[in-house]
Symmetry: C2
Subunit: 318 residues, 2 copies
């Protein structure tokens, strides 16, 4: 408690919160003399954390950005916000960040006190609406639990419903979570079958950490992603969509964000390209934009657009 290390952490924490601190106040809070505070600040600087100081009336100390990421000292709210944000990103809201996000999430969650975990779970329903038509909605709790088990090298039990076949309880050593073609896969050593298996995360339910540690086995070939790709029968076929739209690039980007690439081909006309699994999404973008358009590819989109249009015009009485 009266420890130097603890005091340094508290000092870092103080510097991370308010931003500008008079030296006297810091010294007071840390219950040391101003001289010792100056020494502590020096120590932080030696550790690589750039602490700025300004003199004169209303001078003070301030932690700046440095070369390394300093230990983040978070309060409850911030920690929850970070976890929620990461969950959203992991669920696919930010393309290309799924895996990194889920790794960071596992780290954060593991360190979080149980009460905060519960708060995050309670907010589970509040995850992003996903991307329309992006396929089955992933249970963020399931994903998180698996990520934690993978990270902690803990055996995992869960219920699995294969594409065809009945639900069964599995017992595995989770090896790695891989996002592939908009879906999450768990690559694991199946203890009952004594072999490597992959599982689609959206088919997993009721995951339980067993608490039993294991020594990670070597994945054959060494590259989990390559191995997974070779094993998955069908990566969901994707459509390459290309349409011309009579609108400004800004308007279009406002709707599709980064989910599509928008190029102006001539004054007032843009070519929008996107890769999707489901054609419902581009169809509706066209509908809601309400601008004249031409479908270049794929042909299936034309069918889909027609069907969507007819459905929209056919309001019924339920």
């Amino acid at each position: 408690m009266a420890n130097t290390s603890a005091r340094m952490l508290r000092l870092l924490s103080l510097l991370q919160t308010h931003r500008y601190w008079p030296g006297a106040e810091l010294a007071d809070r840390l219950e040391v003399s101003p001289r010792t505070l100056r020494r502590d600040v020096d120590r932080l600087r030696e550790l690589g954390y750039p602490v700025d100081a300004s003199r004169g009336v209303a001078g003070g100390y301030q932690l700046q950005a440095g070369a390394a990421v300093p230990p983040l000292l978070l309060d409850d709210e911030e920690a929850v916000a970070i976890a929620v944000g990461l969950r959203t990103a992991a669920a696919g809201a930010v393309a290309g960040f799924e895996e990194t996000s889920v790794r960071a999430l596992a780290k954060v969650i593991q360190l979080l006190p149980p009460r905060l975990r519960r708060r995050i779970d309670a907010l589970q329903a509040v995850t992003s609406p996903g991307v329309l038509g992006s396929g089955p909605v992933l249970d963020a709790g399931v994903l998180t639990t698996i990520a934690m088990a993978t990270r902690a090298q803990e055996r995992l039990r869960f219920d699995y419903t294969p594409r065809e076949g009945a639900l069964s309880r599995r017992h595995v050593e989770p090896h790695r979570l891989v996002p592939l073609g908009r879906k999450w896969y768990l690559l694991a050593w199946d203890l009952d079958r004594a072999d490597w298996r992959n599982f689609r995360v959206d088919r997993i339910s009721g995951p339980d950490l067993t608490g039993a540690r294991f020594r990670p086995r070597e994945i054959p070939g060494g590259d989990p992603v390559a191995w997974l790709r070779s094993r998955i029968k069908a990566i969901p076929s994707r459509y390459e969509v290309s349409v011309l739209i009579q609108a400004t690039p800004e308007t279009i980007r406002g709707f599709v964000g980064h989910w599509g690439d928008c190029q102006e081909v001539r004054e007032g006309v843009c070519r929008l390209r996107m890769n999707v699994d489901d054609l419902g999404w581009p169809a509706l973008v066209l509908g809601v934009l309400g601008a004249p358009f031409t479908i270049e590819s794929p042909p299936e989109l034309r069918e889909r657009v027609r069907a969507a249009g007819e459905n929209l015009l056919r309001e019924t009485t339920l």
Copy 2:
């Protein structure tokens, strides 16, 4: 360097990464005797970080979740993932979390080394698509800069384009960022006008931190949100959407997530309610679901859906 504090941080960092560490290896890495390592572990425990130890062959140390959030020691990737996730959440991907997210984001960003900030900025285009039809797309960089200025109590200059009137350069003391009705507002003391003003963040461009500190003034009344509400002429009128859809609640929730409230009114028919600023979004939902529906309110939605349907059926050649 050979400091105890530094060593404790390194130990915490090690315990946060791999998860299970044999004592001998930790002692080796920290270049101390095993006895000292045990003492360091004890110190961590005294500081409130629960470090588990298991004995026997393959024993080791492990950091568990405790009562407080320990200092998060992140590597570059994790830090970037967190920032990107928070940005996404702040941009409105997670309802109700905008403000908390932006506060946490400001904290994280400020501590991040410049090279990581650049990486995040480079990923700016990769923010979430927002919610379709949610209005103007917010520049995450602008929002972040303002949040940093607010947090750091630094004066801010930016270009502002009011709803009516010409662009002008402003110089303000940023007081608070408030998300209101799906838009962000900056509440600030305008230095040129010597009065409180509020600014819509999506009308702000080219924000610059001046580096000049200021002592925060008292907002009249003390409640920034209340003050802001009273000043904003028109909070964007919201529509209360209510539709009947012939589909299971699960299907509908899979698409709308938490953005709507879905109640089964009778077998196979649900009532979906949502509050939106823009009718494009509910129109999209109806279209993508592709199920029979009845619009209960508002009447404008019927127009909108009809227009979208007709537009879809009228492909042209551009």
